[in-house]
Every structure is written in structure tokens, then in C-alpha cells.
């Protein structure tokens, strides 16, 4: 089925996507996948490898190349009782189907007075770090964050991919599920059958007392690496993996800031209107008295992602940038 695993106890982030979908498809015959190249090809990122062989064309729909038709048809199919899992190959292409994401899917429930819900998942390969250029590298979780009616998951580990995928597919809300291209090759523990991670529950992935780093998806390993460097400098760092943007687990963030009194967000999106701005606004509103230093946001520059590797590093958050920001608030 899926490609060879390193050993029985571990799984790659890439394999975890197919594993997470397959577990739900075995559990619930109403789950159907649709998208470009997801069938015999197994997905251009091999994130649907093995699904076509196991579930066949009745449940794995290879579609024509049309993002808005994939997402629009997913909405219609959901109205029949199916639970569609639609793939948009690159998250940048969400812009090609934005009417359905912004105007149709998240509003069906509201505009029918709660009579119709469209339980569906839109999966998409997100983010930079691979030198794919301006139109295939963006981290766009914050696009979806502007729209009431959607939920947003962005896992950072294989176990979270499987656990959040299960919750996303079982959710009656439409969920946009961001899989990070830069994490596909990373490996982690294979969680047991039935593993579920509730949507909207952040994880404290490293405990500390001096400064809180709030990270998401690709920036979680960056924040963890920064915490390691900061420890060598005598700064104890807590890292919160936000996991989801809607719902946003501000209880966990505020509890962490209560411990550390210092906050840095680590965001891959451009600084302008990034998700960290929402985190910061809640902290200064509800936790102003907890803070002993200004908050800092480490985010990408307000430019399109450059093609050149060296320039992409300059634009995106790096361990160095996070260490510098954390030091500045720790030493304030």
C-alpha cells in the first residue's frame, strides 16, 4: 500500500496524510476523496498513495483540472450526505476557488438557518522553504482566518496529521486542512488506531519559564530549534504549537504567557495581517497585566516569496530570527 515505512513505530508526515485519510475511509463509507492526480498517481506529493488501490474509483475521484469545480462539487456532494475530502494541490491555488471557500461553503449553514451543513475537508499543500517561487510557496492559513464558518487545521507532526485529519473529516464544519510541504519528509511516531486530536486544542510542545513562542506547522520545529539555542544562553523557552487557527486555543496561550510574561509569535505568513496579529490582540486585551515586555512577531517579509533559496531564507522566519526576537523580549 503506502510506501515503505522506516520502521513499524514511525511514519513520515507525507505518509501520515494518506494513513489519516485511509483510517477514516475504512471507518466511514461516506468519506470520498476528490482532486487532481490523487488516484493512480497517488498525489503529486504522494500524500494519497495507496488510497486508489484500497478504495477504488467509486471513492477516489480523479477530477479535471479545475479548483473551483473540485471545491464547488465537494459542496454539492456534501449535501447528499457524503463527506468529501477535496484536495487543492498547492494552497496558493485556493485563490482559484475563493468564491466557494469564502462565499458558498462557510455560509450554507447560516443562510439555511442551520438546516443544511456541508461537512467537508479541503486539504492543501501549504508553505515555503523548498524554493518553489512566488505562486507555489505561500503560507496562506491567514487567508482562511478571515472567514467565519470555516475551521482551520495546520499540523506540525505526523501524529497530529493523523489525529487532526480524523477530527476534520468527522467534523460537521467545513475544515481547511493545511499540510506543509516543508514537513512532508519529516518523521515521527505512528499513533495507534483511533488517535484523535480535537480541533482547537493547542499543544505545549516544550515547557519553559522565560518566554513563550507560539508557532504553527512549519514554524514549530523552527521554534523548537530556537528554544534549544536559547537554553544554551540561559533562557528557558516554552513552545506552543497552535495546531488550529479556528478555533484558536487562546486559553493555552494565555496560560503560557501567565508563566513566562513574554510572547513571541512565529509565523510563516507575511507580517501584514498574519495570524500572530490575532494572537497578540487577544493577549494584550485579556492578558495585558501578564506581560513584562513588548510582544514580538517573527513573520515573513511583506514581499512575494523569491525563487532563489538564499533569498527565500531571508524572507521567511529562521531560527536566528526567532532567537534574536526571543532574546530581545527576555532581556527587556
Amino acid at each position: 500500500m503506502a510506501s515503505v515505512k522506516a520502521d513499524a513505530g514511525t511514519i513520515s508526515y507525507r505518509e501520515a496524510v494518506a494513513e489519516g485519510i485511509a483510517r477514516e475511509m475504512r471507518r466511514d463509507p461516506a468519506v470520498v476523496c476528490l482532486g487532481e492526480d490523487i488516484g493512480a498517481a497517488g498525489g503529486v506529493f504522494k500524500t494519497t498513495a495507496g488510497l486508489f488501490a484500497e478504495f477504488g474509483p467509486q471513492r477516489i475521484w480523479d477530477t479535471p483540472i479545475s479548483e473551483q469545480a473540485i471545491v464547488g462539487a465537494a459542496m454539492g456532494a456534501a449535501m447528499t450526505g457524503i463527506r468529501p475530502v477535496a484536495e487543492i494541490m498547492f494552497s496558493d491555488f485556493l485563490a482559484c476557488c475563493w468564491d466557494y471557500l469564502a462565499n458558498e461553503i462557510p455560509k450554507v449553514r447560516y443562510m439555511t438557518g442551520g438546516q443544511v451543513t456541508v461537512p467537508l475537508v479541503i486539504r492543501t499543500a501549504n508553505g515555503g522553504g523548498l524554493g518553489f517561487g512566488a505562486q507555489h510557496s505561500q503560507a496562506v492559513e491567514n487567508w482562511a482566518l478571515t472567514i467565519p464558518g470555516l475551521k482551520i487545521a495546520a499540523p506540525s507532526t505526523p501524529a497530529d496529521v493523523i489525529g487532526l485529519m480524523a477530527s476534520a473529516i468527522r467534523s460537521d464544519d467545513p475544515v481547511v486542512f493545511f499540510e506543509h510541504k516543508g514537513l512532508f519528509a519529516s518523521k515521527g511516531l505512528l499513533p495507534p488506531e483511533g488517535h484523535l486530536v480535537e480541533l482547537g486544542k493547542a499543544a505545549v510542545v516544550r515547557e519553559g519559564t522565560d518566554v513563550t513562542l507560539v508557532a504553527l506547522a512549519y514554524t514549530v520545529p523552527i521554534a523548537l530549534a530556537a528554544a534549544e539555542r536559547l537554553a544554551a544562553k540561559g533562557i528557558s523557552t516554552e513552545v506552543v504549537d497552535l495546531r488550529c487557527l479556528i478555533p484558536m486555543d487562546m486559553t493555552t496561550v494565555l496560560a503560557s504567557v501567565a508563566k513566562t510574561s513574554r510572547l513571541v509569535t512565529v509565523e510563516e505568513n507575511p507580517h501584514q495581517a498574519g495570524w500572530g496579529a490575532t494572537v497578540v490582540s487577544v493577549v494584550v486585551d485579556e492578558g495585558f497585566q501578564l506581560l513584562d515586555a513588548p510582544v514580538r512577531r517573527v513573520a515573513s517579509a511583506n514581499v512575494p516569496l523569491p525563487f532563489a533559496d538564499a533569498l527565500e531564507d531571508e524572507v521567511m522566519p529562521t531560527v536566528d530570527k526567532v532567537v534574536a526576537a526571543a532574546e530581545s523580549v527576555a532581556n527587556f
Partner: protein, 375 residues
């Protein structure tokens, strides 16, 4: 490009040779090699009643908007036959996806006609249940419902609900303007390659707000279907019998698993695009009079008179009954209660969300803080 070619337009159909027609504007029945209807006398009288009632209720809604009682109204005036013909062709198990003008189809689905008026009065967050009534929500974004319909059709096909006489079919309504949208063309492609059980029902009413048909196409719209690999049929959209026959055949084709059909119902929007529009700024002189002569209701009346299927008392009674329903509708609209403000936080997420729930609680506390707020 020469001036002539840039101005080349679709030749308008003239008679039964150019489109499927079973009833002429003079109320004469004509036969067609592929399509026919076998209505009994009661059913023919019933169609007449539907047409008159739908027009009357629509006129009442327009009047309500003019009097400030509705925010906006998109009148179906002139398109009654296209909507009643196709709406009556639907079987109970068939699913319809409308635009915002399908009040006649809504009526044929048996949905209370007050439902869209509540919507356009802005007093509720949704009216009819689209799943229970097999009639989707009014879709304002042009063409989007064709993809919802296609996905729905793919879904019922996956669930094995097509292929027999009792199979299900889907109909997607849209206008001539929508045929320029990417969504609609993408719906054609998806439905085609998946051989989906769907009828694409285009009411070509000649205008997309002010843009005439020549701004949307250089070929008759029904001919576009051949490029997508499924049949296209042009029907006289002001002929309720032909519209019924063509739609019923296309739906049956779909329910039997034979794939999509594009039906172009050739008709005319006698009124404005919506009550916010003034068509006198762009209509061609004489056009209204020309189409008045093709009126969808008068030809059925002429048929009933010609074949002695109804007398003067019948026509008087139908008009009177439609008027009663319109007056009732008006009274019920005026009595619609304003929504409770807390309603606006409901139905965003099926099981709530921390952010919205918190905002709802804050809002409720704020409202309760005013003197005399408790109720």
C-alpha cells in the same frame, strides 16, 4: 476582425423549425418528432392556473418592494412558462438548484411562497430546508449553483441512485449571462466526464442585467453542449408544454444514467433585472411589444378557449383565486416578525465555536444592560 463579424449575433428563433415548440403564440398545438405531452384537460387547466398564480404572486412581491416592504426583488415576469414547465417536469426525488429568480420553480416544488419574501425582507436566516424540499437555496453569485448541482449529481451517482425509472436527477438553473462564467463551463466538463445525472437548464432571457446576448455568445447557447460532449436542446421557453416535454425527457435521460443535457429555454425578461434596475436605459425599442405577442400565459388561455376546455367562469375564478393568494401573501409578509438580534450568532458552526459563543455572550450582556431590556 471585420466590423460585420464582430457584430455577428445569434439569429433569433422564429418558429417551430428553430426550437422545440408544441404550442404557438396563437394557442395552436403543433407536433414535434421527438417531443410530446399527454396532459388531460384538468392538467392543462392546472398549468394555466400555475402560470397565472405565479405571475400574480410575483407582481405582488414587486409591489411590496416598491412600497419599501422588501429590500429587493428579482421578478420572473415573462419567464413563467420556462419555470412552470420545467418545475412541473421534476419528480419528487429530483433535486433543483435555483438562481435567485426561480420563484415559479419554488412554487411548483410546493414550498410556501412567503419563504423567499422573508429572505428579501431580511427577517430570517434562511427559509425552506433545501434537502427536505429538494430545492437549493437561492444562489446570488452567478453560476455557482451549477457546480453545487454537479457535485450533488456526482454524489447520488456514487450512491447508486441512478439507472432506473425511479432514479434521481438534478436540475441546475442559470441564465444566459452565467454561461460566460468559468464555474458553469467547469460544471459542464465535470458533469460530462463523470456522465452525471444532471440537466443544465438555461433560461436565456436575453439580458444579463443590461448586457444583451450578443455580449455573451456568438453561437446559439444550446450548441455549446456539443463541445462538452452532451446533447443541447433549444426550446421555446414561453411554451409551457414544450418546456415540460423537453425537461422531462432530459431528466429521464439523466435518471436512467445517460448523462447530462443542456436545455436552452429561449425566453424574455419582461421586467427589470431586479427592482434596482431600470431597463429603459438599454432595451431596444419595440422589443417588449414583440415579446408581448409571445406571452406564455395568453397562449395557454387561447388553447383552452379554442378547444373548449374552459369557460369565462373558469378564467374569472383563476384570476380571483390568484388575487386572494396574493392578498394573503401580502398580509403575511407585513406580519413577519423582526428577528431577535441574538439570531445573528446562530448557525455559524454546527456545534458552536469558542470565539462566536463568546461574542454572542458579550452581545447578550450588552443588550441586557439597557433599561427595560428584559423581555
Amino acid at each position: 476582425m471585420t466590423k460585420a463579424s464582430s457584430k455577428r449575433a445569434t439569429p433569433p428563433p422564429g418558429d417551430a423549425a428553430d426550437f422545440v415548440q408544441l404550442l404557438t403564440p396563437d394557442g395552436e398545438r403543433v407536433s414535434h418528432p421527438d417531443y410530446s405531452v399527454d396532459f388531460n384537460d384538468d392538467e392543462l387547466r392546472g398549468l394555466y392556473r400555475d402560470l397565472v398564480t405565479v405571475r400574480k404572486l410575483d407582481a405582488e412581491a414587486t409591489a411590496l418592494q416598491r412600497q419599501g416592504e422588501l429590500g429587493i426583488w428579482a421578478s420572473l415576469l415573462g419567464q413563467e412558462a420556462a419555470q412552470v414547465g420545467s418545475g412541473r417536469a421534476l419528480r419528487e426525488q429530483d433535486m433543483a438548484f435555483p438562481t435567485y429568480r426561480e420563484h415559479g420553480v419554488l412554487y411548483c416544488r410546493g414550498i410556501d411562497p412567503i419563504m423567499p419574501l422573508g429572505l428579501f425582507r431580511g427577517v430570517d436566516q434562511g427559509g425552506w430546508d433545501p434537502i427536505a424540499n429538494k430545492f437549493g437555496i437561492y444562489t446570488i453569485v452567478i453560476g455557482a449553483q451549477t457546480l453545487h448541482a454537479t457535485g450533488y449529481a456526482m454524489g447520488i451517482a456514487k450512491d447508486g441512485k441512478v439507472g432506473t425509472d425511479e432514479g434521481e436527477a438534478v436540475i441546475a438553473y442559470f441564465g444566459d449571462g452565467a454561461t460566460s462564467q468559468g464555474d458553469v463551463n467547469e460544471a459542464f466538463i465535470f458533469a460530462s466526464v463523470y456522465n452525471s445525472p444532471i440537466v443544465f437548464f438555461c433560461q436565456n432571457n436575453q439580458y444579463a442585467i443590461s448586457e444583451p446576448l450578443t455580449r455573451q455568445t456568438r453561437v446559439p447557447l444550446y450548441q455549446r453542449a456539443s463541445g462538452f460532449g452532451f446533447p443541447g436542446v433549444r426550446v421555446d421557453g414561453n411554451d409551457v408544454l414544450a418546456t415540460y416535454a423537453v425537461t422531462r425527457a432530459a431528466l429521464d435521460n439523466a435518471r436512467h444514467g445517460n448523462g447530462p443535457t443542456l436545455v436552452e429555454a429561449y425566453t424574455y425578461r419582461m421586467g427589470a433585472h431586479t427592482t434596482s434596475d431600470d431597463p429603459t436605459r438599454y432595451r431596444v425599442a419595440g422589443e417588449i411589444e414583440e415579446w408581448q405577442a409571445k406571452d406564455p400565459i395568453s397562449r395557454v388561455r387561447k388553447l383552452l378557449e379554442r378547444e373548449n376546455l374552459a369557460d369565462a367562469a373558469f378564467f374569472t375564478e383563476v384570476d380571483a383565486q390568484a388575487k386572494v393568494e396574493a392578498v394573503e401573501l401580502r398580509e403575511r409578509v407585513l406580519a413577519l416578525p423582526d428577528p431577535d438580534p441574538s439570531e445573528m450568532f446562530k448557525h455559524v458552526y454546527p456545534h458552536g465555536s469558542p470565539e462566536v459563543d463568546e461574542q454572542a455572550a458579550t452581545f447578550a450582556a450588552y443588550h441586557a444592560s439597557f433599561e427595560g431590556a428584559q423581555h
